[in-house]
C-alpha cells in the first residue's frame, strides 16, 4: 500500500530534484525581462508618471487593463478548481493544482499593477489609516486581501497530503533545509481517518468560500467602473459580465498551463486529451455566456443610441476596429467552433484556441478601459492634441512583460517545490475509478 502510494512521486522526483540547462536558461531569460521591467519602474519613479502614455483624460491605461486581466486569470483556481472540487468531478485531480497555482500567482501579480497606477506610493498606507467605506477602492482592498488569504489557505489544504508524502519519501535527493521545510509544512499529517475527515471537511468549506469570495472580488472590481457615470461603464451588467469574462480567461490560461507542463515534465500519462476536452468544454460554455453578455451590453447601448453611447460605439468601430473584432467576435466564436465540433477537438487546436481567447480577453479589458476614457461627456478639447489618444509607452509595455515574466517565474519555482500534479490524490482516484468500472 505504502509503495503504491509512493510510486507516482518517484516519477515526479526529477522535476523536484534538479533543473535542466534549458530550465536555467528559461529562468535567466525571465529574470532578464523582469530586470527591464524594474528599470522601467525606476524610470517611472524618478521621472514621474509622465513617462507613461496616460494623461488627464485617459488616466488609466494598460496598468489597469493588466490588473483586471490578472485578477481574471486568478479565477482559474477559485471558480474552476473550487467548483470541480465541490462536485467531486473525477477527472479534476491532475489539473486542480495547476489551477490553484494560477489563482494564487495571478492574485499576487494583479494588485501590483494597480500600484503602478498610484501617483503617491509613499502614501499607500493611507488606504488603511484613512480608509473610507463609501469608496469602491476600499471595498476592493478588503475583497482582494480576503481573496488572497482564502486562496492561500485553500491551496495549502489541497497540498497537505503531498507535503506529507514528500516528507515521507526519504530517497528524494534534496538539500536538508527543503526536507525540513516539507516536514514543518506537513503539520504532522499522517493520513489517519480522523485527519482525513477533518482535511476533507476543511477543504470543502474553503472551496465554497473561495468561490463566493472570488465572485465578490470580481464584482467589486467591475463596480469601480460601473458606479461612475462614464458612458460605457455605467452599466448594471458589469458585475456578472466581469465575473464571466474572468472565469473564461482563467479556463484559457489553465489550458495553456496544462499544455506547457505536459510537454516540459512529460505528463502525457496524467494529462490526456480527455482533460483538454473537458476544460475546453468549460471554456466553450463560458465563451457562449461571455458572447451573450457582450452582445446584451452593446445591443442596449447601440439600440437606444443615447448620444454618448453612440459616440463610444463609433469610436470602437473606427479607432478600435481590429481589437473589437478580435475580442468580441473571434474571441467568442473560435471556441464555439473548435471545441463545439468534435473532429476539431485535438490538444493542439484547443491550446491554440486558448491562446487566442487570452489575447481576446486582454483586448476586451483594453476596450472597456481606454475608449470610454477617450469619449467622456464633455468631448476632449482644449487639451494638447497629443493627449486626445492614448498609446502606451515602452515603460508600460516593459512592466506588462515583466508581469507576465513574474507569473511564469513563480509558476516555474512552484513546480520545483511541489509536483504540479497532486500525487497522493492520483492513487486514490485511480482506485475509485477502478471500482466504478
Amino acid at each position: 500500500m505504502e509503495n503504491e502510494q509512493r510510486s507516482p512521486l518517484r516519477e515526479f522526483a526529477p522535476q523536484l530534484e534538479r533543473t535542466s540547462i534549458q530550465g536555467y536558461a528559461w529562468i535567466v531569460f525571465l529574470l532578464g525581462v523582469i530586470g527591464v521591467g524594474f528599470y522601467a519602474f525606476l524610470t517611472q519613479v524618478i521621472d514621474g508618471h509622465e513617462v507613461t502614455g496616460m494623461r488627464d483624460n485617459v488616466v488609466w491605461g494598460v496598468y489597469i487593463v493588466n490588473f483586471i486581466f490578472f485578477m481574471g486569470v486568478s479565477y482559474a483556481g477559485a471558480l474552476i478548481s473550487g467548483t470541480l472540487h465541490l462536485f467531486h468531478t473525477a477527472w479534476r485531480k491532475p489539473i486542480i493544482r495547476m489551477a490553484e497555482l494560477i489563482t494564487i500567482i495571478a492574485l499576487l501579480i494583479g494588485p501590483c499593477f494597480i500600484l503602478l497606477c498610484i501617483g503617491r506610493l509613499d502614501k499607500l498606507y493611507y488606504l488603511v489609516i484613512f480608509g473610507r467605506i463609501q469608496s469602491p477602492i476600499t471595498w476592493d482592498v478588503i475583497a482582494i486581501s480576503t481573496d488572497i488569504f482564502g486562496c492561500l489557505i485553500f491551496l495549502y489544504l489541497t497540498m497537505l497530503r503531498d507535503l506529507a508524502a514528500l516528507r515521507d519519501y526519504e530517497i528524494l535527493q534534496l538539500p536538508k533545509w527543503r526536507k525540513k521545510l516539507y516536514k514543518v509544512l506537513a503539520l504532522g499529517y499522517t493520513g489517519t481517518p480522523e485527519q482525513q475527515f477533518r482535511l476533507n471537511r476543511a477543504t470543502n468549506i474553503m472551496a465554497a468560500m473561495v468561490i463566493s469570495i472570488a465572485i465578490i472580488v470580481y464584482s467589486v472590481l467591475a463596480w469601480i467602473f460601473s458606479v461612475t457615470l462614464q458612458p460605457g461603464w455605467h452599466s448594471t451588467i458589469f458585475g456578472p459580465y466581469f465575473v464571466i469574462a474572468a472565469v473564461y480567461s482563467g479556463s484559457a490560461v489553465l489550458i495553456i498551463a496544462m499544455w506547457i507542463f505536459r510537454k516540459v515534465y512529460h505528463l502525457e500519462n496524467y494529462i490526456t486529451q480527455k482533460h483538454f476536452v473537458a476544460v475546453g468544454i468549460i471554456m466553450l460554455v463560458l465563451a457562449a455566456f461571455f458572447g451573450y453578455f457582450t452582445f446584451s451590453d452593446y445591443l442596449t447601448k447601440w439600440y437606444g443610441s443615447e448620444k454618448n453611447d453612440e459616440l463610444l460605439i463609433q469610436l470602437l468601430f473606427k479607432e478600435f476596429y481590429w481589437p473589437f473584432i478580435i475580442s468580441n467576435y473571434i474571441g467568442v466564436l473560435l471556441p464555439l467552433l473548435v471545441v463545439g465540433i468534435a473532429k476539431f477537438r485535438t490538444i493542439t487546436n484547443i491550446t491554440l484556441t486558448a491562446i487566442v481567447v487570452v489575447i481576446a480577453l486582454w483586448l476586451n479589458r483594453y476596450l472597456i478601459v481606454v475608449p470610454t476614457l477617450q469619449s467622456p461627456y464633455l468631448p476632449i478639447q482644449d487639451s494638447r492634441p497629443e493627449w486626445f489618444h492614448y498609446s502606451a509607452t515602452w515603460v508600460e509595455w516593459s512592466l506588462t512583460a515583466a508581469g507576465v515574466a513574474i507569473f511564469c517565474l513563480l509558476f516555474t519555482i512552484a513546480s520545483k517545490f511541489i509536483p504540479v500534479v497532486p500525487v497522493s490524490g492520483l492513487v486514490e482516484e485511480t482506485k475509485k475509478e477502478d471500482v466504478l468500472i
Binding site: 501617483g119 503617491r120 494638447r384
Partner: protein, 319 residues
C-alpha cells in the same frame, strides 16, 4: 530699487516687517486675523484701515491686503454662513482665455495644466456653436467625493469641493468619477510649483505636488479677503459672475445682480442636469451674442488653435 526688485522676483510677495490685524468687513466672518500687505499686486485705490500688531492704525490698499493661508484642518470647515455659486454668461464669451491664464498664474500651474478650460461646443449639427468656459462645478452631490478612498477630496459647508494634496494618494478614481473631466493630475514635478514659497493650503491649491490630483477650487483664499476668483476678475467681457446663493447676489467685479432674478430672467440652467450631480455653476444660454463664434479663434497661439481642430465645427468649416 534694484534690491527691491530682487526681493519681488524671489518671493513675489513682499511682506511688511510687522503683521497687520485686518479691519472688520475685510475678512467677513473670520474675526481677528493676521494679514500681510502684498505690494506686487496693482493698487485699486480702495483703501481700508487696519491695525498693525504694534497697535498703530494704518491705511492700505484693499487689493494688496493678503491673509495668510488657512491650515489644512481649517480648510475642511468652509466659511461659515456662506454658499457659493458661479454664473457664466455664454452670450459674452469669445475665448479670450484670460480666465485660463489668470487661474494658471494664481495657482502657480504649468501651461500644460488648466483648472478652467474653454470648450467649443455645438449641441447638434444644426444648432449654433458657442464657447463654453468650464470650471469645477462644485456639485452638491459630488461623485468625486464619494469615490475617494482616503477622504482627500471633500465638500465644505460653503459648497466648495476641495482637494487636500497632502492626503491624496493619486489613485485618480475621482478623475474617472467626475463626469465633467474637471480634474487634473500632476504627471511630474513642474517647476512652477516651486514659485510658491508659502506653506501649502487646500484653499490655495498651491504649491502643487507631483502624483496628486488638483482642480478648480473657487479660490476661497481670495473670497476670505473679499475678492472674487481669478477667472472672474480677469475676464475682459465680464462673463463669469461669482457670489452667494443665500445672499442672492452675484458679481463679475463690475456689475452685480440678484442671483435668482438673473437665473429667472435669462433662463439660467446647469450643464448636464440629467446626471444628478447638482452643480453650483449655472450657465446663461448663448443668446444675444456679443461676438460671432469665429472671433474666438482670433489671436490664438497656433498651439492653442490646434486644440480645437477635432471639434465638429472646425472639421465642418475646414477650407
Amino acid at each position: 530699487m534694484e534690491e527691491e526688485q530682487n526681493v519681488n522676483k524671489n518671493s513675489r510677495r513682499q511682506f511688511l516687517k510687522q503683521g497687520l490685524i485686518a479691519g472688520a468687513g475685510v475678512a467677513a466672518g473670520a474675526g481677528l486675523l493676521t494679514a500681510f500687505v502684498d505690494k506686487s499686486i496693482a493698487e485699486t485705490g480702495e483703501k481700508v484701515k487696519v491695525l498693525t500688531t504694534n497697535g498703530e492704525i494704518m491705511e492700505v490698499d484693499k487689493a494688496q491686503l493678503v491673509l495668510p493661508r488657512v491650515t489644512r484642518e481649517e480648510s475642511h470647515k468652509g466659511i461659515p454662513g456662506r454658499k457659493f455659486v458661479m454664473v457664466i454668461d455664454l452670450g459674452k464669451c469669445k475665448n479670450a482665455r484670460k480666465c485660463v491664464e489668470a487661474c494658471q498664474r494664481g495657482h502657480h500651474m504649468p501651461k500644460s495644466q488648466e483648472f478652467m478650460k474653454v470648450y467649443l461646443l455645438q449641441d447638434s449639427e444644426k444648432t449654433s456653436p458657442y464657447w463654453f468656459p468650464k470650471p469645477c462645478f462644485h456639485c452638491d452631490n459630488p461623485l468625486c467625493v464619494s469615490v475617494c478612498p482616503v477622504g482627500a477630496t471633500f465638500k465644505r459647508s460653503d459648497g466648495i469641493v476641495l482637494i487636500d494634496n497632502e492626503r491624496c494618494i493619486g489613485c485618480k478614481f475621482c478623475m474617472t468619477g467626475c463626469p465633467y473631466s474637471t480634474r487634473v493630475f500632476a504627471w511630474k514635478h513642474y517647476k512652477e510649483f516651486d514659485e510658491d514659497k508659502e506653506p501649502y493650503s487646500p484653499e490655495a491649491s498651491s504649491p502643487g505636488k507631483e502624483g496628486t490630483v488638483s482642480k478648480c477650487d473657487f479660490c476661497p483664499d481670495l473670497i476670505r479677503v473679499g475678492k472674487i476668483p481669478y477667472c472672474a476678475s480677469a475676464c475682459p467681457m465680464g462673463v463669469i459672475y461669482f457670489g452667494d446663493v443665500d445672499e442672492d447676489t452675484v458679481t463679475n467685479g463690475v456689475e452685480t445682480y440678484q442671483f435668482s432674478e438673473l437665473i429667472r430672467d435669462r433662463a439660467g440652467y446647469r450643464y448636464l442636469e440629467v446626471l444628478g450631480t447638482r452643480p453650483c455653476v449655472y450657465y446663461l444660454p448663448p443668446v444675444d451674442r456679443q461676438f460671432p463664434v469665429d472671433r474666438g479663434f482670433n489671436d490664438l497661439a497656433p498651439e492653442i488653435k490646434d486644440r480645437y481642430k477635432e471639434t465638429p465645427y472646425v472639421q465642418k468649416n475646414k477650407p
